[in-house]
């Protein structure tokens, strides 16, 4: 199915930073690796470069830390890793996301949400 880019872009803006945090959960990555990892998820990245201002902001906010490592090819690379604060944020988001996703799914399924069903079954 063809993607609806404006719609997708709105959604992406809200969740991309948490996806970046999630991609770092298993360990540190350098920029290109991270981009390749996120790019493999359908619809998550359109222009790969948009990850970098985001990483810059996450670093400034203290969710992500950077270290320089020698690379076998070319100059040293900056590796990104999750800080303790980043782990906390990711955990909180995961909880919120699960509830949010269920709520949206509920609305999408029935058109009125589960509350009405609950209301009906309560009366």
């Amino acid at each position: 199915m063809e993607r609806h880019e404006p719609m997708l872009s709105q959604l992406r803006r809200g969740v991309l930073e948490y996806c970046v945090l999630a991609a770092l959960r298993e360990g540190e990555r350098y920029g290109y690796e991270l981009v390749a990892q996120l790019g493999a998820a359908d619809g998550l990245l359109t222009s790969e470069g948009t990850i970098y201002p985001l990483l810059g902001r996450l670093r400034k906010d203290g969710a992500v830390a950077t270290t320089w490592r020698e690379s076998t090819s070319g100059p040293p690379r900056r590796y990104y890793s999750l800080t303790a604060a980043g782990h906390d944020t990711l955990e909180r988001f995961t909880g919120e996301w699960t509830r949010f996703r269920d709520a949206v799914d509920g609305i999408l399924e029935t058109g009125e949400g589960r509350w009405k069903r609950d209301l009906r079954s309560a009366s």
């Binding site: 803006r13 350098y30 920029g31 290109y32 690796e33 981009v35 359109t46 222009s47 790969e48 470069g49 948009t50 970098y52 201002p53 985001l54 990483l55 810059g56 902001r57 690379s71 090819s73 070319g74 100059p75 690379r77 900056r78």
Partner: protein, 205 residues
Amino acid sequence: MEAGPAQRLVKRYLKDLRGASRGLSRGERLELAAQIEEHIGAALALVPAPSEADVRDVLERLGEPAEIVAEQYGARPARRGMGAQAVTAIVLLLIGGFLAGIGSIAGVVLLWTSQVWTVREKVVGTLLVPGGLATALYLSLLLGGGEECGGLVYHFSGVRHAVSSCTGATTTLDRVLAIALFAFLLLAPVGSAIFLIVRARPQPA
């Protein structure tokens, strides 16, 4: 990567990126440029002998520089954050001291209530130099009198010199230091104003 068209493509891309990120703070701009350059290097290191088409492909997947910058700042293109308040603050910090000193105070108030500078930048704007250019003028009038023995003279060369030079026969050392101080008082407010202009960040929408 071979020198030639491929390298020119990368160079032009990085130049476009610098242009597009002009609205960001200096730190953000440099970080972004370094990240993108590293990305291009890492992507091309995976290809044995990158051709012009390979480079083009890497750059296309990165996206337009303007698009990359805009993503972080919403749909709004980044721009300089010099609103009326910021401009007034800089002008008053520079020459407000001539308005019976009140202008300088107003400048400091505007500086600290502005959103476009960090605390550190505001400290620089406040301390370099209280009173702005007026301070240089008043001090030169004071020292130029020659007969007077301002408290500052003591600081220039220590009490030893100051005592003997108090009656107006200033030593060469005092004279040199006075000129240096005057030059500093003249240049520092100008430098401070330029610093504030450069550091003003994009205004929130």
